[in-house]
Symmetry: D2
């Protein structure tokens, strides 16, 4: 254990999906000493028990930091960020990593980046340079400006990172590790049973033949509308009469509104065609998506992994605004009629061709190699 100490902060189910193959590649790398820190919703059972999943996947957890406040509103999100920062400083002070890795654009990502920047620890950022809406858009680019090394998913993301003044030599297009999992799932010889791994149960999912998946998160800058926005989607589903698997939202400002809409729908109707899930493991989650007729909501999964898997997507609202996308996505506003119409079109269309916009596999290995070999430094200047 005398190699470069690489500390990766995993903070949520989506970020785990987008770094899992890189973590496994790092853990088995002979001259890299992996330190996994688990924080935020990744520690909470109701967001899928990611900490437990990590250990089941054979990864060792070096430290934990509980940081999520109850009452998801703008004040509690900002408080959680401050708390995450203080706890991560304490952890980095004791783990003394050579490089810290942060993923995407959540508040824990910014807390991780701030801690590393002030502690003079080189910072690598995964998934910079993409564009969306909401506060994530601000945070993702702020993290780019705090980071020393950029491991991005697409060529256009790389261009944007460089346009923001980053040194082109610090930018690497690796593809997204989530596509590594999608490649596996798309490969029929590896298909397996699909079980709900939530809360330690192993309930086998009893899925109908044709189902859609709903994955809709609150938009933090529109958090007051979260309940109304979710109701539009749920009404559209009912109007189309398709069976649906519905996931609970992320722990962002507004998530209580989204959850309330789901609860209202769940209790007000017999709900025979709706199945509610808290979370699935990364691979099972992709299997579920892969097997679905359409993905409805505003998760980036439809745009990223969905593009490779060719799954039809109805993307609702502003959350993924501007994100680079393949042909599999139809964009609509938070309006039940528009959602229902787009959903009928996608069901009629069926699966799309696979698109390698976000990668074609082996991103995890590439990231592990770069983190092992690239020279590390903390000084940078505005370039161009």
């Amino acid at each position: 254990m005398t190699g470069r100490r690489v500390c990766v902060v995993v903070s949520a189910r989506p970020s785990y999906s987008r770094v899992k193959t890189a973590l496994l590649a790092m853990q088995s790398h002979p001259t890299l000493d992996l330190q996994v820190v688990v924080t935020a919703s990744a520690l909470l059972e109701r967001y899928g028990g990611i900490a437990r999943m990590l250990e089941e996947d054979g990864l060792r957890i070096a430290a934990r930091a509980a940081t999520v406040l109850e009452g998801h509103d703008p004040t509690t999100m900002a408080t959680s960020t401050g708390l995450a920062l203080l706890k991560l400083v304490t952890i980095f002070e004791n783990l003394r990593p050579d490089v810290v890795v942060t993923i995407a654009d959540r508040y824990e990502t910014l807390a991780t980046a701030t801690a590393a920047a002030y502690m003079n620890i080189p910072l690598a950022h995964l998934q910079g340079g993409e564009v969306t809406g909401s506060v994530d858009e601000k945070v993702r680019h702020a993290v780019t400006k705090l980071a020393d090394l950029h491991l991005v998913s697409t060529a256009r993301a790389a261009q944007r990172v460089i346009a923001m003044g980053e040194d082109p030599k610090s930018v690497f297009v690796t593809g997204c590790p989530s596509i590594d999992l999608a490649v596996e799932v798309a490969n029929p010889s590896r298909a397996g049973d699909l079980t709900e791994q939530r809360r330690g149960t192993d309930r086998r999912l009893d899925l109908p033949a044709d189902y859609v998946v709903v994955l809709q998160h609150p938009v933090t800058t529109e958090c007051e509308q979260a309940r109304a926005q979710m109701l539009e989607t749920l009404h559209a589903l009912r109007d189309c009469g398709v069976p649906a698997v519905i996931f609970h939202p992320n722990d962002d400002a507004g998530s209580e509104g989204t959850t309330r809409a789901i609860e209202e729908f769940r209790t007000s109707r017999n709900g025979d065609r709706l199945l509610y899930l808290d979370s699935l493991g990364p691979t099972d989650f992709l299997r579920l998506i892969h097997g679905s007729s359409c993905l409805v909501g505003n998760s980036s999964v439809g745009i990223r992994e969905g593009s490779y898997l060719g799954v039809p997507v109805v993307n609702v609202g502003t959350r993924q605004k501007n994100r680079e996308r393949a042909a599999n996505v139809i964009d609509v506003a938070h309006d039940r009629a528009s959602i229902a119409e787009a959903l009928r079109r996608q069901l009629a269309n069926g699966p799309y061709e696979s698109d390698t916009l976000y990668g074609s596999g082996r991103a995890g290995e590439r990231i592990a190699s770069i983190l092992t070999e690239v020279p590390l430094h903390i000084e940078k200047y505005f370039s161009g």
Copy 2:
């Protein structure tokens, strides 16, 4: 008090100098409700008692937040950032501002920006788009990406902000309010007595006829070299044999090294030609600079206010690397011979022509007007 609530976070002597005329303009504005929050080193007497100065200048303090840890190293800086974030969230939760204003690139700036971004409060950033070295360079641009409104000092700063993907309509070139003070100081009819306002004393400064001013801060990304770097500058001064006024450094990682170098010099020699100061009020500070033969060190004051005042500057090391500058600056490395040679050249040259690169006055009024009138929003997209 029913106007727009504008909350300005003042955290250090330099940031106060660069916002003072804007604060006074806002406080006297009929439809703007100013909320001044004082935090970080601005609350500490040994950094100049800025809180006290603010009140002496007629400004009302709405809230205070003590955040600076002892033992200025990377860990304590990161801790102070987290602490500032938690305290500012608590304060914003209770002041409920309509817009938050943050200044320049210190850690409190990033804490302020993070709090505002997650609390869905529109954020205005002063002095974005400039370029330097150190962690400040990372933080300044990260704050730009978190901010909704950019009030920048120069046209080139505006270009850089826009290059980073900000909407040109959100960028305003106002000049730097510090130049408003410089205009006042440069006007001989307003010149006044120069007294040290430190710690409540009113000791009148007894300055020699020809003196240089030394203002050198640690570079956080080179914090281990802080003591050695300061010693080079002090040796150069001794070699040139000029009387000097020396200020204590900012509370950044490495400041203990800088201070130790000063202390060592102070006690090892009779020190008859060196005068040590903790701090002066913004106007007295500029009067001192204006009256000096040369400014030595790495403070941005030489480059900004110095350019308007035409004061010769010897800029040492990487801290101001790349910052836009006028003809009054000679750049040298941390090497006593180079410093001494540049100092002799500047003393021989004498005062430079005034340059309006960073503004020509009235920046404070312009900022107050913009903050009163501009439409506020929190949603933005990568532009260009």
Copy 3:
């Protein structure tokens, strides 16, 4: 507003019930300037929206501090305590109270007491000297040792506070303000309609003729058993076949276990005889208790307000161990057979005589008078 500034920190539904009449008396007092700070679960809708209730009761909120972490386990409780401490320091720094009032024994109580003690603000503690089990027992007495003024409910509580070395002159037996509300509720002329005030709805409760109320919280030092303990109680209720109103637990370590037990019971049976509530306002809550046939669980309400109202109580487990009680309480272990047997005995017994052990009304007025008049100081010595 030039009177003594008295800052009361309200942090949960029970603490609001036990201070409400004192707050109203203070707010209308001519020479006392009340500052109400609302924090912890009192800010969260799912614990009853106490902040909203306070405002409906005509109380003005001076400051708020969101502090509750998700995932109620020992680590998050300790984290919430630290967060509450940092936020309360920030708030006290800006409100500058002359005396701080803290209530009972929750983690926010200890955070409040610690902040006041180190900030040299005299601290008054309500409900010291009582005895129970769990971490509350430790915290209550620790707060006594940090407090300068003790406003206790019973004569025996006063004896214990003095036994711990407190100056008898600093101890006042005021009775508990919750009994002021019980006196009102017990007075039939003031009885009113009972509506559920949760989440802004005004759903009128449709109660059966004979019902029991269940109020069972996790014991933090036994938090792993919370689910099993709640299941015993729920099974006992089913075995007795009585209709029951069941409340959700406090946000303590283990509360997810308690909630899960309730959810399991709710979904596994038709549940026709169980009504689940999140919270009620203090007065409605007492009306509900007053109208019930028996109270089952481990809430102190059965022992305090219940003693005055003469409501039969089945007290389960160690949480109220050693708390002074009247004749209305039967104690049993977490065992469904014992709980069911005790419940049948209480239903057969019917209402008890009113007992004034915890007061007989006017405690709120007494507390307001003492806080206005008593000399304040922060220096104390072990007495006796």
Copy 4:
């Protein structure tokens, strides 16, 4: 490393002196796994670089937590407590100790106790049951009420702990480990050279034949008077004309006043008879005390270790009020005439007989044994 994990939090020079022999005994114990956490002023060089000393003494540091704010006033002390709490929670979450040990009565002691209590980790408290003045008095007893195991120095301390309602079976009179060091120092065969170990220098102290030692800390509840109080002591010393070794104060509210008084005296006189020290290692510190003619100030060292060493003490002010003492102490107020008179009396008296009030050695071993063998639990009830 499979024994009981005992986590000891060391936070200041005095607490290290009072636990050092216990730490060494624990580290060499075969079935105990020692985890030393270093925090607060123990991490700062200007308070003696205790972290460094610990390592020089052969102790391994398991974790560090920087927590001390600049600007020692009541607000910053309370902030440091909250910060210490959050960092210690993070550390305990990752070290998972079986028992936590906290020492004496500083703010870090209360932070440690609070973290352990809410995290359901059994807490052992060293030096409970003693009495003094200031906020320490409140905190010491509050920690007793949070603790599960009491390892006290004297029989009367044990009585007080029991009087406060603690179970006598949880109270052990071990003596104070600081006396273990005093026994060593008093033994002439082990005497050694005295060098100042501050800041890595090894400057040999050049002591006059007869000297007194001054060790005076601010009283946090009288922090505004700190400067004036220190000046009285310094004037008394000058009036008596004795050479003196003066230490810098602890980092408590008011310490800037104490330090300023020292600085004023240092610069205003030629100071030929005063020697200023930041800190010494525990053993050298005791050697210095042992060799002195008298100890002046308000440190508990005069009362504890001083009683064993028979050193004459002039104890000034309220800080040690009520602390159990031997014949070697004369108490006086903060008045230069009284201090000077008492000092002259003590110089005339010379050394006192050794008194074993606070122990007679082997306390460290006893503590290690108890912590290894005693049954651990977290549930307790008011006793008596």
